[in-house]
């Protein structure tokens, strides 16, 4: 079966193509991408997708999600998380290994790979915990996990505290050519802290996390990446100073990349007033000044990628005292809308840059053969409407959880069709009709 997506605005940052054209999908791969499908390729049966008014891009890749399987299936599963991803326009997701048990050995990696294959509509690329059980004591069997399918190593949610351990993990990652994704937080400065340190926390009487707790580890990890030659990727960057350090490190040639998340360019810490546990996350929602810094970093490409840190939690884990509430918010189904509304519509970055940060860049950072619409690459494609206005209603989410602070927000930009390996996994083929040339 062949599918011709015709008349849409094709944005393929990898080839710098941005214009109206045709994409032909054949046997799960891209057979053509360009201004006009040559007549000779039109022979045979083709299903036509009229994409006029829509944007056609390489499938979006969320390089930072929590899908909770194995162990916390009451929050999310590879299936429901995968459905949420598809509904949000993502064709690939990268789950973090802080499951129960942690993904820190071959058997668990294999489990995730197998369960994803059985249940998830989108591609799932597992990562491995840097240390066994995320305990910060001994390194996990990283090479064995890579052989089983893990594509990166990370300390997400359990930041490596010892500089010595971090150095050795980086050296080991380099040995096996894996990137290290780090959650930068000096835990000695954030003990008992539940939101950003600042006026809002002071008024609420809540212990704050100073930005320095993030900045110190960004600084340290950059130094160690330079020393070891490891490919370092900084997860969910949120503070002005951290972004500046990445900017400087890149300028002097350190192999470092970073991502931010929509919550860090959409919200400031006043969102926590009234003890709004839905806004509790780590790193915490920062200040207006940090939002500006995040936007500057996105605009000058210091920040390579936009991920979600999709962190599902059950209702009772948020309907409680702020200090007791779980950290994290879901994001798969709002990321595209927030990116278009808060960054593209406001002129911070172009639509093409947004696509690069949500597809091409994550693929490059993680070494995935995706994120582009070149001929013979897998037909992972997202078709979205950049001008569709919609209201966020968590009750309509595919995710098993509802913990978003964006309920009721009016957003522009929404996925219409999500295609993985040539197969429609979300949405419909518009104006579907069979044509035979």
């Amino acid at each position: 079966m062949r599918l011709l997506i015709s008349g849409g605005r094709i944005i393929d940052p990898a080839s710098s193509f941005d214009g109206v054209g045709d994409v032909l999908v054949e046997d799960g791969v891209i057979a053509f991408c360009g201004e006009r499908l040559p007549e000779e390729m039109k022979s045979g049966e083709v299903r036509l997708y009229d994409a006029s008014g829509l944007v056609v891009t390489p499938g979006l890749i969320d390089m930072h999600v929590h899908l909770r399987e194995p162990g916390q299936e009451y929050k999310e599963t590879l299936e429901t998380g995968g459905m949420a991803a598809a509904a949000g326009g993502f064709t690939s997701v990268v789950p973090m290994p802080n499951t129960v048990p942690a993904v820190d050995n071959r058997a668990t990696v294999e489990y995730v790979v197998r369960r994803a294959k059985e249940t998830s509509p989108v591609r799932v690329w597992p990562t491995v915990a840097a240390t066994k059980g995320n305990a910060n004591e001994e390194m996990s069997e990283i090479a064995d996990c890579k052989a089983a399918g893990a594509i990166a190593v990370t300390d997400d949610a359990f930041p490596l505290q010892s500089a010595e351990m971090t150095r050795r993990v980086m050296e080991y990652c380099r040995t096996f050519d894996l990137p290290l994704l780090t959650h930068c937080e000096d835990k000695s400065m954030t003990k008992g802290a539940v939101m950003n340190e600042g006026l809002s926390a002071t008024v609420l009487g809540l212990k704050g996390m100073p930005k320095a707790a993030e900045d110190l580890q960004v600084s340290r990890n950059i130094e160690l990446a330079q020393m070891t030659g490891c490919r370092l990727h900084i997860l969910h960057i949120s503070s002005r100073r951290s972004i500046q350090m990445v900017r400087e490190a890149k300028a002097r040639g350190v192999r470092v990349s970073c991502e931010t998340c929509p919550q860090y360019f959409s919200l400031d810490d006043a969102i926590c007033l009234g003890y709004n546990t839905l806004a509790k996350c780590s790193p915490p929602i920062r200040t207006r000044d940090d939002i500006e810094a995040v936007k500057e970093g996105l605009a000058d490409a210091t920040i390579d990628a936009i991920a979600t840190d999709h962190a599902p939690h059950a209702a009772h884990e948020k309907e409680c005292e702020f200090q007791t509430a779980a950290f994290g918010m879901i994001g798969l189904e709002t990321a595209l809308g927030l990116t278009v509304s808060k960054l593209v519509d406001t002129g911070v970055i172009s639509l093409s840059e947004a696509v690069r940060k949500m597809s091409t860049a994550p693929a490059e950072i993680l070494g995935l053969p995706l994120g582009r619409l070149s001929v013979q690459s897998p037909a992972d494609i997202t078709v979205f409407d950049p001008s569709e206005e919609w209201t966020v209603d968590p009750e309509l989410f595919q995710s098993k959880s509802r913990n978003t602070p964006f309920a009721g927000w009016r957003l522009r930009g929404r996925a219409v069709t999500t295609i993985v390996a040539g197969r429609v996994v979300y949405g419909e083929v518009r104006s579907a009709e069979k044509t035979t040339a």
Partner: protein
């Protein structure tokens, strides 16, 4: 007289009018407390449930005394002997208690925001008896009542709050209440005990005790806790007492008619010298009796008891 708000969760959100209403009503309640038979039938048939997740003898007894003086039925719930020990969530605890038809919940909890949280899940009135490091509005009101009794006003006074501001719900309630009624508030303490962005609050900040209390009308001394030393916020109680402990020598910097206040319980010789605690400027015991009056006033105003019941 009634309050414009259903709950008393903090002074940050309380209007000046409501605060003055409480203070005026508390003044009348003091009269009841001075009678030989300290009981009026005002709140007969009303039920007050004190829900204490944190140990507090004095605040709890103060609320119970206030409720009983007004003839309300008082039930006590304490976390140490309750289903909380079995892992019940705060939401479920409140839904359960709420189903027992309480008219007022008086809640003390170690988590900031707990009182507000509780108010979301009950139709009853909620009075915050101290939530974490957030607010302790009845303490703030009783402090203001005590000040007003002595000074005749709040407006135009200068009040210094000395000590661990970061961890103090008393400090926060005092800051909001006093500034809303027109007083100037100074905070005195080492940087380690001052919260982030403290200078964005409507206060003046001092690191030097003598400078901070100079020409003040009121010095409100906060309790210092040993666990702050253990957390590395100051080196020793000894050094704290030397630099920030209120003694009679330092007190000479304040106005000659200064009031010395302390929310209790006091660490004599640490944040306050014994002779100051017991001295002529101290109104610590009066604060305690005013506490009962303020809590009576709040219960009365929230439950809308009829005026004539308070009158004789």
């Amino acid at each position: 007289m009634t309050l414009s708000q259903k709950h008393v969760l903090g002074l940050q959100d309380m209007s000046a009018q409501d605060m003055l209403c409480v203070l005026d009503q508390a003044q009348e309640m003091k009269e009841i407390l001075s009678r030989p038979i300290k009981k009026v039938p005002t709140l007969r048939g009303k039920s007050v449930v004190t829900v204490f997740f944190e140990n507090s003898t004095r605040t709890r007894i103060s609320f119970e005394t206030a409720a009983k003086t007004l003839s309300a039925d008082v039930t006590g719930f304490s976390a140490s002997t309750s289903s909380v020990q079995k892992g019940e969530s705060l939401k479920d605890t409140i839904l359960t208690l709420s189903a027992m038809a309480a008219d007022v919940f008086v809640i003390r909890h170690q988590a900031s925001g707990a009182a507000e949280f509780v108010s979301r899940y009950t139709d009853a009135h909620v009075i915050n008896a101290g939530d974490g490091q957030h607010e302790h509005p009845t303490q703030g009101l009783l402090d203001m009542l005590t000040i007003r009794q002595h000074k005749g006003r709040i407006e135009g006074l200068t009040v210094a709050i000395v000590g661990d501001i970061t961890h103090s719900r008393v400090a926060r309630s005092n800051i909001w209440g006093l500034t809303r009624l027109g007083a100037k508030v100074r905070l005195v303490g080492p940087e380690t005990l001052l919260p982030a962005e403290v200078r964005q609050l409507p206060v003046e900040v001092f690191h030097d005790l003598r400078e901070g209390i100079r020409d003040c009308d009121v010095v409100n001394v906060l309790r210092i806790q040993l666990e702050r030393q253990e957390a590395g916020l100051f080196p020793s109680l000894r050094e704290y007492a030397q630099r920030f402990g209120l003694n009679s020598n330092a007190l000479r910097e304040a106005r000659p008619d200064v009031l010395v206040m302390h929310p209790g319980p006091m660490n004599r010789g640490v944040e306050i010298a014994a002779d100051v605690a017991d001295g002529e400027f101290s109104v610590v015991e009066e604060q305690v009796s005013n506490g009962v009056a303020v809590r009576m006033a709040l219960l009365y105003l929230l439950l809308g008891g009829s005026d004539d019941a308070v009158a004789h």
